[in-house]
Symmetry: C2
Subunit: 366 residues, 2 copies
């Protein structure tokens, strides 16, 4: 039985560029796609990196995602814009959209670009970091295929609808928060499956409102729409279940109503028994810190907030308090040194892609 | 023993205007303060309405909040501004700040005003609704006195730091989300105290990281800084505890770093054994929907999202799925009809205020 292998970052990056290019994505845009995906692998978020390469290939081959990204500007008014992504490459659309928000922020202090008819844009943190690197606050949210049930409901209605917020600090790493509005998500359930562990109670429910622990059954039922993930805060008002659910609704509104785009079950990718584009919507907001205050003051205050939290009194069973962005910073150092972990299943996937596209240079990648 | 009484809305409103005016707030600004407070009582959120009147009186009398609101514009650049509230009336500062954000949104599509050195601004939803009533999305957040522990920590470091988001719909009510980033908050614990019930497990911990159920002890320890509220998502990463905690950090950054203002323990209201102003910071964002898309399309999509969620399949033990803003809408109808509930403790508070300020016209309010 094959083992998990650590492959140099550069090799995985080059493979992804090759794959996207061979599928028809212009080479410079293929690099953007690979950039966003590798950012996820580098920060240890395996669910949104090279592990998703096959998903993108499948969608391109199925004709529901287009390699030639053509953006229509629906509205452009001072600090805001609305774009239509025409089902092109989500990463290409989104990098341009965040840069446009950043440019608008330079001119007006704050900029906002919303997008409709886009495709899966990868890890949100990439776009927030773009803003941080230019001394800005970066915010992005996106809707997604329905998987969360509303509080007191049992049908998957809302996507895992992440909220991402980045702010630069004077520490080695910025504050980068990037998380779904559900307690957990399918990618995490898959990790439990590989580890042959039960799913924690409260993450997901069946159509009778009962929580799952049978990980294999949950994965089957999620595909068939018989299982729903639970919003942050859990299943009762007493535990704050209305909060995660409502934050997911907020993200849904910002990802669809502002751009007259698609929402909830229209994002299922199916219509009349045929696969159709996912028609995702995103929002990107940038705030030019120097228009508000001295950038040094901002970074100092943000850094102090982070450090004081980290240094505050710990629970007896814990020896460390983490801040959003910190684990990813250390992960990146380690992964750049030792390579990206590719498990046997993923090795198989990638070998299939390499063979199908005749990428002979990568025959000995594993 | 006196009973809880229902008092006509108009009478409570007039009393609050009188009290603020008598304390030295200019009459038109006293009306703004009363407007914001009554909005809370009308929507059934007892913790932020007339129940807080005594708190404002005490702070004004202690000289840590000023009745004469003087705003300094620190920065004003195109779509953004930074204000200093000079410890004036939080409601007056905040209504002007949200209106400024709305005016900027009209001109640039989006507007953002941040404030420092403000005071308790009441219910967030009031400001989001201002935006909705002008066909805009409204967002506001504020920091607050430290009460939440970071994940794996046991010290109160972050405020209950609420996130508020409002979007207009074509239904009878708008989508108005307004909630702390903690599971619950002191006001709710006080309700459990009045009902002589145990506090739900997981809401708060002591310095050893143990959860409270003894409601009376929790209220004492919260005042002494020995208890901390828990962020949305609970006490472990598995339950999403890093998410609520990190959202509270996001709100802290947006309420302090962007305006070079105060943060975390600086908001305690004490220095060298003396009471000092709370130095709160807020952020207000407005988005002019018509600059993005047709307002009818926006309201229709938002309304559909709300209705489809409400109509989705229910858990066997529940007969209704709620949407943020819905309960408050029905509460307001009922309260306008039957008056605001004033419990015996609050009656006593208000009678004390009425006597101290010689507001003879209100001697027979109860």
């Amino acid at each position: 039985m094959p083992e998990t292998k650590r492959i140099p970052v550069k090799n995985i990056y080059n493979l992804m560029v090759e794959v996207f290019t061979k599928l028809g994505v212009p080479n410079d845009e293929a690099k953007v796609c690979a950039d966003v995906l590798i950012e996820s692998d580098l920060t240890g978020i395996e669910s949104h990196g090279v592990g998703r390469l096959k998903m993108y290939c499948d969608r391109i081959k199925a004709g529901i995602q287009f390699t030639n990204t053509k953006i229509d500007v629906i509205k452009d008014f001072a600090a805001i814009a609305v774009w239509d992504g025409n089902h092109g490459m989500g990463q290409v659309i989104s990098k341009l959209a965040m840069q446009n928000a950043i440019d608008k922020a330079k001119e007006f202090g704050i900029g906002c670009v919303t997008v409709r008819n886009s495709t899966h844009y990868g890890i949100c943190g990439y776009y927030a970091k773009m803003a941080c690197d230019q001394n800005m606050i970066g915010i992005t949210m996106t809707n997604a295929r329905p998987s969360i049930a509303p509080l007191f409901g049992v049908s998957p209605m809302l996507g895992t609808n992440p909220i991402c917020f980045g702010a630069p600090s004077d520490k080695e790493y910025d504050f980068i928060y990037d998380a779904a509005t559900s307690i957990s998500q399918r990618g995490k359930v898959e990790l439990y499956n590989r580890a042959e562990k039960q799913t924690p109670e409260g993450w997901a429910i069946n159509e009778e409102g009962k929580t799952y622990t049978d990980t294999k059954q949950l994965l089957v039922d999620l595909i068939e729409g018989k299982a729903s993930m639970i919003g942050l805060g859990g299943m009762e008002e007493e535990t704050g279940g209305h909060k995660g659910y409502s934050l997911a609704v907020m993200v849904e509104i910002l990802s669809s109503a502002l751009q007259a785009g698609s929402f909830m079950h229209h994002l299922n990718g199916w219509e009349d028994g045929k696969r159709i584009p996912y028609k995702l919507g995103h929002i990107f907001i940038a705030m030019d810190i120097e228009k508000f205050t001295d950038i040094k003051d901002f970074k100092r205050i943000t850094g102090k907030i982070m450090t004081q939290l980290q240094n505050s009194k710990k629970r007896p069973d814990k020896d460390r308090i983490w801040i959003a962005g910190e684990k990813e910073y250390f992960q990146e150092k380690e992964i750049r040194r030792n390579g990206i972990s590719i498990n046997p299943g993923l090795q198989k996937n990638l070998i299939t892609i390499i063979n199908e596209l005749n990428l002979e240079a990568y025959n000995n990648l594993f």
